[in-house]
């Protein structure tokens, strides 16, 4: 079966670079964000230097930043909302103009 492509506001999800970035200088691997996120964006890597990675950015809900609120050391950041919205608008126009 052909799986239909995930989209957000009519734009392929993979074209929207919205996902958390981990600041490894600050992250203390408490894993609260991973425990919180119901979309499986993060993945734990036992025995590796970076014990937590953003493994599935495409699962992240565009414009959702709630995981950052669970982060005590403030190690999670997101792209700029306005820029992301501008990009989405541009991609929608490109699509409309063919």
């Amino acid at each position: 079966m052909q799986v239909s492509e995930e989209t957000f506001m009519g734009v392929p999800r993979k074209d929207i670079p919205w996902c958390p970035a981990i600041d490894y200088e600050k992250c203390d691997y408490c894993m609260e964000c991973d425990e919180f996120c119901p979309h499986g964006v993060f993945e734990r890597r036992e025995g590796e230097e970076k014990k937590l990675v953003v493994a599935h950015p495409e699962n992240c809900v565009v414009f959702c930043k709630v995981c950052a609120k669970t982060c005590g050391p403030d190690a999670l950041s997101f792209p700029d909302k306005t820029e992301t919205l501008e990009l989405i608008k541009r991609l929608r126009e490109d699509k409309r103009d063919g």
Binding site: M9, C64, K69, K81, L85
Partner: protein, 290 residues
Amino acid sequence: MAEKNKPVVLPCNGIDKEAGAISRELALLLLEKGADVICPVLYQSNPKRYQKKLESGKLLVIDGCKTGCASKLAREHGLKIAKKATVNELLKEENLKSGKSPVIGTEKLGLLPAWAERLEELEDIVAEEGGTHFKTPVSFRQFAFDKFIFKVPEAGYFFNENDCWARVEGDRARLGVSDYVQQSASDIIFFEPPEVGKELNMFDEAGSIESTKTALDIISPVSGTVTAVNQELVEAPELINSDPYVAGWAVEVALSDFESDRELLMDCAGYFDYLNEKVKKEYRKRYGGK
């Protein structure tokens, strides 16, 4: 007898973080200036201990970081928050960040007396009432999937793909979350409103909610200025479960550019179809099959 409207300070007091330590120091500075202070730990185990002070005073909550534990504690106990500040935001204004060590840095210690004064001057969080808008009855369409029934209003609402709605009347809108959100989140137990006066761009956070299962932001479908928050919802967040589209409204905004916002939104019929597809997809993801 306790003095009426005396400030009562509830700091986060987090002992393992610098921001928490700063919230404690600020509370102590305010104590010296005559405020009452609540120890969150003692309050947790014996809330009656502070009942009198809270009844007669005005609650100032000082959170350390975005986790907002002090605000949460206040809401869990049904306390009315009159004023609120967050240490990390105060630090940001000075281009500073909380450090790794929970011991307060010297430079930051020097800032605290001025901050304490600012906190004394903080304005109360006030909410206006909604006025004459949004009184007309709303009718719904619904569809069933598996054992669930999803409702969507028939007209007057606009939706984004984050399942948040704007009910638009003239230059005003009320914002909230859809029936789908309330069913997926299950029992809603907190609503944290944004501040009245906050400027919202499209997709900015217009408050947040927490359920027994999860937490989420209300992502604004429109741009505008927050003119009111639903105080009833602060007191009874479960209104979102019982009536997500009407009584469960979260905030009211004065719209700034709805004509351009609406190009990016779905109307009721559009959201009805979108939600139908979304629910099917979620179900397939979870249980496989067609």
